[in-house]
Amino acid sequence: MLSVWTLLSWGPDGWLDDIVSGAAVTVLLALATLPIGLTIGFFIALGKQSEEPSLRIAANIYTTIFRGLPELVTLFLFFFGGPLILQYLIRLVRPEATIDVNAFVAGMIVLAIIFSAYASEVFLSAFRAIPKGQYEGGYAVGLSYAQTMRKVILPQLVRIAFPGLENCWLSLLKDTSLVSVVGLAETLRQAGVAARVTKHTFLFFSVAAVVFLILAVVSSLATGAIQRSLSRREARR
Protein backbone atom coordinates (compact mmCIF):
# COMPACT_ATOMS: atom_id res chain seq x y z
CA MET A 1 0.00 0.00 0.00
CA LEU A 2 1.49 3.29 -1.12
CA SER A 3 1.19 6.19 1.23
CA VAL A 4 -1.07 9.10 0.45
CA TRP A 5 1.89 11.40 -0.13
CA THR A 6 3.45 9.02 -2.63
CA LEU A 7 0.16 8.88 -4.49
CA LEU A 8 0.01 12.66 -4.62
CA SER A 9 3.63 13.12 -5.65
CA TRP A 10 4.98 14.21 -9.02
CA GLY A 11 6.32 11.45 -11.21
CA PRO A 12 5.68 7.84 -12.21
CA ASP A 13 4.41 6.69 -8.80
CA GLY A 14 2.30 9.73 -8.04
CA TRP A 15 -0.65 11.23 -9.81
CA LEU A 16 -0.02 14.91 -9.25
CA ASP A 17 1.42 15.42 -12.75
CA ASP A 18 -1.69 13.84 -14.33
CA ILE A 19 -4.04 15.96 -12.25
CA VAL A 20 -2.13 19.14 -13.02
CA SER A 21 -2.27 18.38 -16.75
CA GLY A 22 -6.02 17.83 -16.31
CA ALA A 23 -6.33 21.16 -14.54
CA ALA A 24 -4.44 22.79 -17.41
CA VAL A 25 -6.96 21.33 -19.87
CA THR A 26 -9.82 22.64 -17.70
CA VAL A 27 -8.36 26.15 -17.68
CA LEU A 28 -7.56 26.06 -21.41
CA LEU A 29 -11.07 24.91 -22.25
CA ALA A 30 -12.65 27.64 -20.16
CA LEU A 31 -10.32 30.33 -21.53
CA ALA A 32 -10.87 29.20 -25.12
CA THR A 33 -14.64 29.27 -24.62
CA LEU A 34 -14.75 32.69 -22.99
CA PRO A 35 -14.13 35.00 -26.02
CA ILE A 36 -16.48 33.03 -28.27
CA GLY A 37 -19.20 32.96 -25.64
CA LEU A 38 -18.82 36.66 -24.85
CA THR A 39 -19.05 37.62 -28.53
CA ILE A 40 -22.12 35.49 -29.21
CA GLY A 41 -23.71 36.64 -25.97
CA PHE A 42 -23.15 40.29 -26.84
CA PHE A 43 -24.79 39.94 -30.25
CA ILE A 44 -27.70 37.96 -28.80
CA ALA A 45 -28.25 40.79 -26.30
CA LEU A 46 -28.12 43.31 -29.15
CA GLY A 47 -30.76 41.26 -30.94
CA LYS A 48 -32.93 41.08 -27.82
CA GLN A 49 -33.02 44.83 -27.33
CA SER A 50 -33.42 45.59 -31.03
CA GLU A 51 -36.45 47.50 -32.31
CA GLU A 52 -36.91 44.86 -34.97
CA PRO A 53 -39.41 42.22 -33.75
CA SER A 54 -38.06 39.39 -35.89
CA LEU A 55 -34.58 39.86 -34.45
CA ARG A 56 -35.99 39.85 -30.91
CA ILE A 57 -37.91 36.65 -31.52
CA ALA A 58 -34.88 34.90 -33.03
CA ALA A 59 -32.69 35.90 -30.07
CA ASN A 60 -35.35 34.88 -27.54
CA ILE A 61 -35.71 31.43 -29.11
CA TYR A 62 -31.96 30.96 -28.68
CA THR A 63 -31.90 31.83 -24.98
CA THR A 64 -35.11 29.94 -24.21
CA ILE A 65 -33.71 26.75 -25.71
CA PHE A 66 -30.19 26.88 -24.37
CA ARG A 67 -31.11 28.11 -20.90
CA GLY A 68 -33.91 25.56 -20.68
CA LEU A 69 -31.94 22.49 -21.72
CA PRO A 70 -29.76 20.76 -19.13
CA GLU A 71 -26.09 21.31 -19.99
CA LEU A 72 -25.54 17.59 -20.23
CA VAL A 73 -28.37 17.14 -22.74
CA THR A 74 -27.01 19.96 -24.91
CA LEU A 75 -23.57 18.37 -24.77
CA PHE A 76 -24.85 14.94 -25.78
CA LEU A 77 -27.07 16.35 -28.52
CA PHE A 78 -24.12 18.15 -30.09
CA PHE A 79 -21.56 15.45 -29.42
CA PHE A 80 -23.66 12.63 -30.87
CA GLY A 81 -25.94 14.58 -33.20
CA GLY A 82 -23.39 17.00 -34.65
CA PRO A 83 -21.29 14.32 -36.34
CA LEU A 84 -24.43 12.84 -37.94
CA ILE A 85 -25.25 16.14 -39.63
CA LEU A 86 -21.62 16.82 -40.57
CA GLN A 87 -21.24 13.29 -41.91
CA TYR A 88 -24.35 13.73 -44.02
CA LEU A 89 -23.14 17.05 -45.42
CA ILE A 90 -19.64 15.79 -46.14
CA ARG A 91 -20.87 12.60 -47.78
CA LEU A 92 -22.54 14.83 -50.37
CA VAL A 93 -19.07 15.99 -51.44
CA ARG A 94 -16.77 13.13 -50.51
CA PRO A 95 -18.59 9.85 -50.01
CA GLU A 96 -15.68 8.02 -48.36
CA ALA A 97 -14.98 10.60 -45.64
CA THR A 98 -15.54 9.83 -41.97
CA ILE A 99 -15.81 12.28 -39.13
CA ASP A 100 -14.09 12.13 -35.82
CA VAL A 101 -15.25 14.69 -33.28
CA ASN A 102 -12.66 16.12 -30.97
CA ALA A 103 -14.02 16.24 -27.42
CA PHE A 104 -12.22 19.54 -26.77
CA VAL A 105 -13.79 21.26 -29.77
CA ALA A 106 -17.24 19.79 -29.10
CA GLY A 107 -16.99 20.87 -25.47
CA MET A 108 -15.87 24.32 -26.50
CA ILE A 109 -18.81 24.80 -28.86
CA VAL A 110 -21.39 23.55 -26.36
CA LEU A 111 -19.97 25.54 -23.45
CA ALA A 112 -19.79 28.67 -25.62
CA ILE A 113 -23.44 28.26 -26.55
CA ILE A 114 -24.54 27.80 -22.93
CA PHE A 115 -22.28 30.61 -21.70
CA SER A 116 -23.57 32.99 -24.38
CA ALA A 117 -27.20 32.27 -23.47
CA TYR A 118 -26.55 33.29 -19.86
CA ALA A 119 -24.17 36.14 -20.72
CA SER A 120 -26.75 37.63 -23.09
CA GLU A 121 -29.12 38.12 -20.13
CA VAL A 122 -26.37 39.93 -18.25
CA PHE A 123 -25.57 42.12 -21.25
CA LEU A 124 -29.26 42.82 -21.79
CA SER A 125 -29.81 44.10 -18.27
CA ALA A 126 -26.63 46.18 -18.58
CA PHE A 127 -27.96 47.66 -21.84
CA ARG A 128 -31.16 48.58 -20.05
CA ALA A 129 -29.20 50.32 -17.31
CA ILE A 130 -27.63 52.71 -19.82
CA PRO A 131 -29.88 55.73 -20.37
CA LYS A 132 -31.12 56.48 -23.87
CA GLY A 133 -29.51 59.92 -23.64
CA GLN A 134 -26.10 58.29 -24.04
CA TYR A 135 -27.04 57.08 -27.53
CA GLU A 136 -28.67 60.39 -28.39
CA GLY A 137 -25.64 62.30 -27.14
CA GLY A 138 -23.40 60.12 -29.30
CA TYR A 139 -25.55 60.79 -32.39
CA ALA A 140 -25.76 64.48 -31.54
CA VAL A 141 -21.99 64.88 -31.71
CA GLY A 142 -22.00 63.15 -35.08
CA LEU A 143 -20.93 59.61 -34.19
CA SER A 144 -22.33 56.79 -36.28
CA TYR A 145 -24.17 53.86 -34.68
CA ALA A 146 -21.05 51.69 -34.66
CA GLN A 147 -18.93 54.48 -33.23
CA THR A 148 -21.49 55.28 -30.52
CA MET A 149 -21.58 51.61 -29.62
CA ARG A 150 -17.81 51.25 -29.47
CA LYS A 151 -16.81 54.52 -27.85
CA VAL A 152 -19.78 55.50 -25.71
CA ILE A 153 -21.86 52.45 -24.83
CA LEU A 154 -19.36 49.57 -24.60
CA PRO A 155 -17.06 51.13 -21.96
CA GLN A 156 -20.05 51.70 -19.68
CA LEU A 157 -21.57 48.34 -20.56
CA VAL A 158 -18.44 46.42 -19.54
CA ARG A 159 -18.40 48.15 -16.17
CA ILE A 160 -22.07 47.43 -15.47
CA ALA A 161 -22.03 43.88 -16.78
CA PHE A 162 -18.80 42.82 -15.10
CA PRO A 163 -20.16 41.35 -11.84
CA GLY A 164 -22.77 39.34 -13.75
CA LEU A 165 -20.20 38.10 -16.22
CA GLU A 166 -18.02 37.02 -13.33
CA ASN A 167 -20.81 34.69 -12.21
CA CYS A 168 -21.14 33.36 -15.75
CA TRP A 169 -17.40 32.70 -15.81
CA LEU A 170 -17.59 30.76 -12.53
CA SER A 171 -20.38 28.56 -13.86
CA LEU A 172 -18.44 28.07 -17.08
CA LEU A 173 -15.46 26.89 -15.04
CA LYS A 174 -17.69 24.39 -13.23
CA ASP A 175 -19.47 23.28 -16.40
CA THR A 176 -16.16 22.23 -17.98
CA SER A 177 -16.29 19.19 -15.70
CA LEU A 178 -19.24 17.90 -17.76
CA VAL A 179 -17.00 17.50 -20.80
CA SER A 180 -15.17 14.73 -18.93
CA VAL A 181 -18.25 12.61 -19.67
CA VAL A 182 -17.48 12.58 -23.39
CA GLY A 183 -13.87 11.67 -22.74
CA LEU A 184 -11.88 14.89 -22.49
CA ALA A 185 -8.90 14.35 -20.17
CA GLU A 186 -9.61 17.29 -17.87
CA THR A 187 -9.39 17.48 -14.07
CA LEU A 188 -12.32 15.26 -13.18
CA ARG A 189 -11.47 12.62 -15.78
CA GLN A 190 -7.84 12.42 -14.63
CA ALA A 191 -8.94 12.23 -11.02
CA GLY A 192 -11.39 9.48 -11.98
CA VAL A 193 -8.63 7.47 -13.69
CA ALA A 194 -6.38 7.88 -10.65
CA ALA A 195 -9.23 6.86 -8.37
CA ARG A 196 -9.98 3.74 -10.40
CA VAL A 197 -6.36 2.62 -10.60
CA THR A 198 -5.40 3.28 -6.99
CA LYS A 199 -8.80 2.53 -5.38
CA HIS A 200 -8.40 5.75 -3.34
CA THR A 201 -11.66 7.16 -4.65
CA PHE A 202 -12.43 9.66 -1.93
CA LEU A 203 -8.89 11.02 -1.96
CA PHE A 204 -8.75 11.70 -5.68
CA PHE A 205 -12.23 13.14 -6.06
CA SER A 206 -11.41 15.43 -3.14
CA VAL A 207 -8.30 16.48 -5.02
CA ALA A 208 -10.48 17.29 -8.03
CA ALA A 209 -12.76 19.36 -5.78
CA VAL A 210 -9.73 21.18 -4.37
CA VAL A 211 -8.50 21.94 -7.89
CA PHE A 212 -11.85 23.54 -8.73
CA LEU A 213 -11.81 25.48 -5.45
CA ILE A 214 -8.32 26.78 -6.23
CA LEU A 215 -9.46 27.83 -9.69
CA ALA A 216 -12.45 29.63 -8.16
CA VAL A 217 -10.24 31.46 -5.65
CA VAL A 218 -7.70 32.43 -8.32
CA SER A 219 -10.39 33.72 -10.65
CA SER A 220 -12.04 35.71 -7.87
CA LEU A 221 -8.65 37.32 -7.15
CA ALA A 222 -8.21 38.08 -10.84
CA THR A 223 -11.73 39.47 -11.29
CA GLY A 224 -11.27 41.54 -8.14
CA ALA A 225 -8.18 43.13 -9.67
CA ILE A 226 -9.99 43.79 -12.97
CA GLN A 227 -12.95 45.25 -11.10
CA ARG A 228 -10.67 47.60 -9.19
CA SER A 229 -8.96 48.80 -12.34
CA LEU A 230 -12.35 49.32 -14.02
CA SER A 231 -13.63 51.43 -11.16
CA ARG A 232 -10.37 53.41 -11.02
CA ARG A 233 -10.87 54.35 -14.65
CA GLU A 234 -14.42 55.35 -13.94
CA ALA A 235 -13.25 57.67 -11.17
CA ARG A 236 -10.64 59.30 -13.40
CA ARG A 237 -13.22 60.05 -16.10
Binding site: G47, S50, E51, E52, P53, S54, L55, R56, I57, A58, A59, I61, T64, I65, R67, G68, L69, P70, E71, L72, V73, T74, F76, L77, F80, G81, L84, Y139, A140, G142, L143, S144, Y145, Q147, L170, K174, D175, T176, S177, L178, S180, V181, L188, G192, A195, H200, T201, F202, L203, F205, S206, A208, A209, F212, L213, A216, V217
Partner: protein, 276 residues
Protein backbone atom coordinates in the same frame (compact mmCIF):
# COMPACT_ATOMS: atom_id res chain seq x y z
CA UNK B 1 -25.80 80.58 -43.84
CA UNK B 2 -24.30 78.85 -46.80
CA UNK B 3 -21.57 77.13 -44.81
CA UNK B 4 -24.02 74.45 -43.69
CA UNK B 5 -24.94 73.55 -47.23
CA UNK B 6 -21.32 72.95 -48.24
CA UNK B 7 -21.52 69.60 -50.00
CA UNK B 8 -17.80 68.85 -49.66
CA UNK B 9 -17.79 68.49 -45.87
CA UNK B 10 -18.77 64.90 -45.32
CA UNK B 11 -20.87 64.84 -42.20
CA UNK B 12 -21.61 61.52 -40.62
CA UNK B 13 -25.29 61.71 -39.86
CA UNK B 14 -27.21 59.82 -37.20
CA UNK B 15 -28.77 56.62 -38.45
CA UNK B 16 -31.98 57.19 -40.39
CA UNK B 17 -35.29 55.83 -39.09
CA UNK B 18 -35.79 52.21 -39.97
CA UNK B 19 -38.26 51.63 -42.75
CA UNK B 20 -38.60 49.23 -45.62
CA UNK B 21 -35.90 46.62 -45.37
CA UNK B 22 -33.16 47.84 -43.05
CA UNK B 23 -30.27 45.53 -42.34
CA UNK B 24 -31.58 44.46 -38.93
CA UNK B 25 -34.85 43.28 -40.47
CA UNK B 26 -33.06 41.24 -43.11
CA UNK B 27 -30.82 39.63 -40.47
CA UNK B 28 -33.84 38.98 -38.25
CA UNK B 29 -35.78 37.28 -41.02
CA UNK B 30 -32.75 35.20 -42.01
CA UNK B 31 -32.23 34.08 -38.39
CA UNK B 32 -35.88 33.18 -37.97
CA UNK B 33 -35.64 31.33 -41.26
CA UNK B 34 -32.69 29.37 -39.86
CA UNK B 35 -34.67 28.51 -36.71
CA UNK B 36 -37.66 27.39 -38.79
CA UNK B 37 -35.37 25.30 -41.00
CA UNK B 38 -33.69 23.75 -37.95
CA UNK B 39 -37.00 23.03 -36.22
CA UNK B 40 -38.55 21.72 -39.43
CA UNK B 41 -35.47 19.62 -40.05
CA UNK B 42 -35.68 18.02 -36.62
CA UNK B 43 -39.43 17.37 -36.98
CA UNK B 44 -38.89 15.94 -40.47
CA UNK B 45 -36.07 13.74 -39.19
CA UNK B 46 -38.25 12.50 -36.33
CA UNK B 47 -41.07 11.73 -38.74
CA UNK B 48 -38.70 10.00 -41.15
CA UNK B 49 -36.95 7.99 -38.44
CA UNK B 50 -40.18 7.23 -36.57
CA UNK B 51 -40.16 3.71 -35.24
CA UNK B 52 -43.38 2.74 -33.48
CA UNK B 53 -41.89 -0.41 -32.06
CA UNK B 54 -39.02 1.49 -30.47
CA UNK B 55 -41.39 4.06 -29.04
CA UNK B 56 -43.63 1.40 -27.54
CA UNK B 57 -40.58 -0.29 -26.03
CA UNK B 58 -38.83 2.73 -24.56
CA UNK B 59 -41.68 5.25 -24.14
CA UNK B 60 -42.85 3.88 -20.77
CA UNK B 61 -39.29 3.91 -19.43
CA UNK B 62 -39.14 7.65 -20.14
CA UNK B 63 -42.24 8.17 -17.99
CA UNK B 64 -40.60 6.11 -15.28
CA UNK B 65 -37.43 8.20 -15.63
CA UNK B 66 -39.45 11.38 -15.39
CA UNK B 67 -40.88 10.12 -12.09
CA UNK B 68 -37.36 9.43 -10.79
CA UNK B 69 -36.17 12.90 -11.85
CA UNK B 70 -39.12 14.66 -10.23
CA UNK B 71 -38.90 12.70 -6.99
CA UNK B 72 -35.13 13.22 -6.81
CA UNK B 73 -35.50 16.96 -7.28
CA UNK B 74 -38.50 17.19 -4.95
CA UNK B 75 -36.87 15.29 -2.09
CA UNK B 76 -33.55 17.10 -2.37
CA UNK B 77 -35.17 20.54 -2.59
CA UNK B 78 -37.20 19.87 0.58
CA UNK B 79 -34.24 18.36 2.47
CA UNK B 80 -32.06 21.22 1.26
CA UNK B 81 -34.60 23.78 2.46
CA UNK B 82 -34.61 22.22 5.94
CA UNK B 83 -30.80 22.04 5.99
CA UNK B 84 -30.46 25.60 4.71
CA UNK B 85 -32.12 27.05 7.83
CA UNK B 86 -29.24 26.32 10.24
CA UNK B 87 -26.70 27.22 7.56
CA UNK B 88 -28.34 30.60 6.92
CA UNK B 89 -28.61 31.17 10.67
CA UNK B 90 -24.93 30.42 11.14
CA UNK B 91 -23.98 32.57 8.18
CA UNK B 92 -25.75 35.57 9.70
CA UNK B 93 -24.55 34.87 13.22
CA UNK B 94 -22.24 37.32 14.96
CA UNK B 95 -20.12 34.41 16.19
CA UNK B 96 -17.00 34.47 13.99
CA UNK B 97 -16.37 30.71 14.13
CA UNK B 98 -19.97 29.80 13.35
CA UNK B 99 -20.25 32.21 10.41
CA UNK B 100 -16.81 31.16 9.15
CA UNK B 101 -17.83 27.51 9.12
CA UNK B 102 -21.06 28.31 7.30
CA UNK B 103 -19.10 30.42 4.80
CA UNK B 104 -16.72 27.50 4.11
CA UNK B 105 -19.66 25.14 3.63
CA UNK B 106 -21.33 27.49 1.17
CA UNK B 107 -18.06 28.25 -0.64
CA UNK B 108 -17.25 24.57 -1.07
CA UNK B 109 -20.63 23.63 -2.51
CA UNK B 110 -20.87 26.67 -4.74
CA UNK B 111 -17.25 26.57 -5.84
CA UNK B 112 -17.05 22.97 -7.01
CA UNK B 113 -19.05 21.36 -9.83
CA UNK B 114 -22.07 19.31 -8.79
CA UNK B 115 -20.66 16.45 -10.83
CA UNK B 116 -17.54 16.37 -8.63
CA UNK B 117 -19.74 16.41 -5.51
CA UNK B 118 -21.85 13.55 -6.86
CA UNK B 119 -18.72 11.51 -7.67
CA UNK B 120 -17.30 12.30 -4.25
CA UNK B 121 -20.41 10.85 -2.63
CA UNK B 122 -21.12 7.95 -5.00
CA UNK B 123 -17.58 6.66 -5.56
CA UNK B 124 -15.92 8.28 -2.56
CA UNK B 125 -17.99 6.63 0.18
CA UNK B 126 -16.48 3.33 -0.91
CA UNK B 127 -13.32 4.42 0.91
CA UNK B 128 -15.25 4.48 4.17
CA UNK B 129 -17.07 1.19 3.76
CA UNK B 130 -15.94 -0.40 7.09
CA UNK B 131 -16.85 2.69 9.11
CA UNK B 132 -20.22 3.05 7.39
CA UNK B 133 -21.01 -0.61 7.86
CA UNK B 134 -20.28 -0.16 11.52
CA UNK B 135 -22.88 2.59 11.92
CA UNK B 136 -25.29 0.83 9.56
CA UNK B 137 -25.37 3.48 6.84
CA UNK B 138 -23.72 1.37 4.14
CA UNK B 139 -27.08 0.16 2.86
CA UNK B 140 -28.14 3.76 2.32
CA UNK B 141 -25.05 4.78 0.36
CA UNK B 142 -25.00 1.63 -1.78
CA UNK B 143 -27.99 2.96 -3.72
CA UNK B 144 -27.00 5.44 -6.42
CA UNK B 145 -30.36 7.23 -6.00
CA UNK B 146 -29.67 7.90 -2.32
CA UNK B 147 -26.18 9.16 -3.12
CA UNK B 148 -27.73 11.52 -5.66
CA UNK B 149 -30.18 12.83 -3.08
CA UNK B 150 -27.41 13.22 -0.51
CA UNK B 151 -25.18 15.25 -2.86
CA UNK B 152 -28.04 17.31 -4.29
CA UNK B 153 -29.52 18.14 -0.88
CA UNK B 154 -26.16 19.33 0.45
CA UNK B 155 -25.57 21.35 -2.71
CA UNK B 156 -28.97 23.02 -2.84
CA UNK B 157 -28.79 23.72 0.90
CA UNK B 158 -25.76 25.91 0.26
CA UNK B 159 -27.52 27.85 -2.49
CA UNK B 160 -30.79 28.10 -0.58
CA UNK B 161 -28.98 29.36 2.51
CA UNK B 162 -27.54 32.19 0.45
CA UNK B 163 -30.97 32.98 -1.03
CA UNK B 164 -32.55 33.02 2.42
CA UNK B 165 -29.76 35.17 3.87
CA UNK B 166 -29.95 37.65 0.99
CA UNK B 167 -33.73 37.89 1.32
CA UNK B 168 -33.67 38.41 5.09
CA UNK B 169 -30.91 41.00 4.81
CA UNK B 170 -32.90 42.81 2.10
CA UNK B 171 -35.53 43.72 4.71
CA UNK B 172 -34.58 47.08 6.21
CA UNK B 173 -33.24 47.08 9.75
CA UNK B 174 -35.98 49.49 10.84
CA UNK B 175 -38.46 46.63 10.56
CA UNK B 176 -36.59 44.71 13.27
CA UNK B 177 -36.34 47.81 15.41
CA UNK B 178 -39.97 48.71 14.96
CA UNK B 179 -41.05 45.21 15.98
CA UNK B 180 -38.73 45.29 18.98
CA UNK B 181 -40.21 48.60 20.12
CA UNK B 182 -43.66 47.04 19.94
CA UNK B 183 -42.47 44.33 22.29
CA UNK B 184 -42.29 41.42 19.87
CA UNK B 185 -39.47 39.01 20.55
CA UNK B 186 -37.01 37.90 17.89
CA UNK B 187 -38.76 34.74 16.73
CA UNK B 188 -42.13 36.50 16.47
CA UNK B 189 -40.53 39.32 14.51
CA UNK B 190 -38.89 36.90 12.13
CA UNK B 191 -42.02 34.88 11.62
CA UNK B 192 -44.63 37.64 11.41
CA UNK B 193 -42.73 40.62 10.04
CA UNK B 194 -39.47 39.74 8.33
CA UNK B 195 -40.26 36.47 6.55
CA UNK B 196 -43.44 37.66 4.78
CA UNK B 197 -41.44 40.51 3.27
CA UNK B 198 -38.31 38.44 2.65
CA UNK B 199 -40.10 35.62 0.87
CA UNK B 200 -41.51 37.98 -1.74
CA UNK B 201 -37.92 38.88 -2.59
CA UNK B 202 -36.82 35.26 -2.37
CA UNK B 203 -39.50 33.81 -4.63
CA UNK B 204 -37.65 34.39 -7.88
CA UNK B 205 -34.27 33.07 -6.69
CA UNK B 206 -36.04 30.04 -5.20
CA UNK B 207 -37.76 29.46 -8.52
CA UNK B 208 -34.46 29.74 -10.35
CA UNK B 209 -32.93 27.28 -7.93
CA UNK B 210 -35.75 24.82 -8.62
CA UNK B 211 -35.18 25.13 -12.37
CA UNK B 212 -31.42 24.77 -11.90
CA UNK B 213 -31.98 21.62 -9.86
CA UNK B 214 -34.23 20.11 -12.54
CA UNK B 215 -31.52 20.81 -15.10
CA UNK B 216 -28.69 19.68 -12.86
CA UNK B 217 -30.53 16.45 -12.01
CA UNK B 218 -29.57 15.19 -15.48
CA UNK B 219 -26.07 14.50 -14.17
CA UNK B 220 -27.23 11.72 -11.85
CA UNK B 221 -27.47 9.69 -15.05
CA UNK B 222 -23.66 9.54 -14.91
CA UNK B 223 -23.70 7.93 -11.47
CA UNK B 224 -25.99 5.20 -12.88
CA UNK B 225 -29.36 6.50 -11.69
CA UNK B 226 -32.04 5.80 -14.27
CA UNK B 227 -33.71 9.18 -14.28
CA UNK B 228 -35.01 10.85 -17.43
CA UNK B 229 -31.50 11.40 -18.78
CA UNK B 230 -30.41 7.95 -17.61
CA UNK B 231 -33.21 6.36 -19.61
CA UNK B 232 -32.19 8.40 -22.65
CA UNK B 233 -28.60 7.23 -22.23
CA UNK B 234 -29.78 3.65 -21.93
CA UNK B 235 -31.95 3.95 -25.04
CA UNK B 236 -29.12 5.54 -27.00
CA UNK B 237 -26.60 2.92 -25.96
CA UNK B 238 -28.95 0.18 -27.18
CA UNK B 239 -30.23 1.74 -30.39
CA UNK B 240 -27.66 4.41 -31.37
CA UNK B 241 -30.63 6.54 -32.33
CA UNK B 242 -30.18 10.28 -31.72
CA UNK B 243 -33.95 10.54 -31.26
CA UNK B 244 -33.39 9.29 -27.72
CA UNK B 245 -31.72 12.58 -26.84
CA UNK B 246 -34.06 14.76 -28.90
CA UNK B 247 -37.06 13.40 -26.99
CA UNK B 248 -35.44 13.93 -23.64
CA UNK B 249 -34.46 17.48 -24.65
CA UNK B 250 -38.09 18.23 -25.51
CA UNK B 251 -39.30 16.88 -22.17
CA UNK B 252 -36.77 18.93 -20.19
CA UNK B 253 -37.59 22.05 -22.18
CA UNK B 254 -41.32 21.63 -21.53
CA UNK B 255 -40.79 21.10 -17.77
CA UNK B 256 -38.53 24.13 -17.48
CA UNK B 257 -40.87 26.37 -19.48
CA UNK B 258 -43.90 25.31 -17.41
CA UNK B 259 -42.00 26.03 -14.20
CA UNK B 260 -40.68 29.35 -15.46
CA UNK B 261 -44.09 30.61 -16.46
CA UNK B 262 -45.67 29.23 -13.29
CA UNK B 263 -43.17 31.10 -11.14
CA UNK B 264 -43.72 34.31 -13.11
CA UNK B 265 -47.48 33.94 -12.59
CA UNK B 266 -47.09 33.40 -8.85
CA UNK B 267 -44.74 36.37 -8.63
CA UNK B 268 -47.27 38.59 -10.40
CA UNK B 269 -49.97 37.40 -8.01
CA UNK B 270 -48.09 37.96 -4.77
CA UNK B 271 -46.65 41.35 -5.72
CA UNK B 272 -49.97 42.87 -6.73
CA UNK B 273 -49.98 45.04 -3.59
CA UNK B 274 -46.61 46.50 -4.58
CA UNK B 275 -47.69 47.63 -8.05
CA UNK B 276 -48.99 51.12 -8.60
Amino acid sequence: MSVVADAKTAVERPPPRARGWPRSRIIGYVLIGIWIAAGGGIVAYMAWAWNGELFAKYGPSYIEGLGVTLSLVGISIVLGAILSLPVAYARMSKNRILSGLAYCYVYFFRGTPLLVQAFLVYYGVGSFKPQLEMVGLWGFFREAFNCGIFAFALNTAAYQAEILRGAIESVPKGQWEGAASLGLHKLQTLWKIILPQALVVALRPYGNELILMIKASAIVAIITVYDLMGMAKLTYSRTFDIQAYIWVAVVYLVIVEILRHGIEWIERRITIHLKR
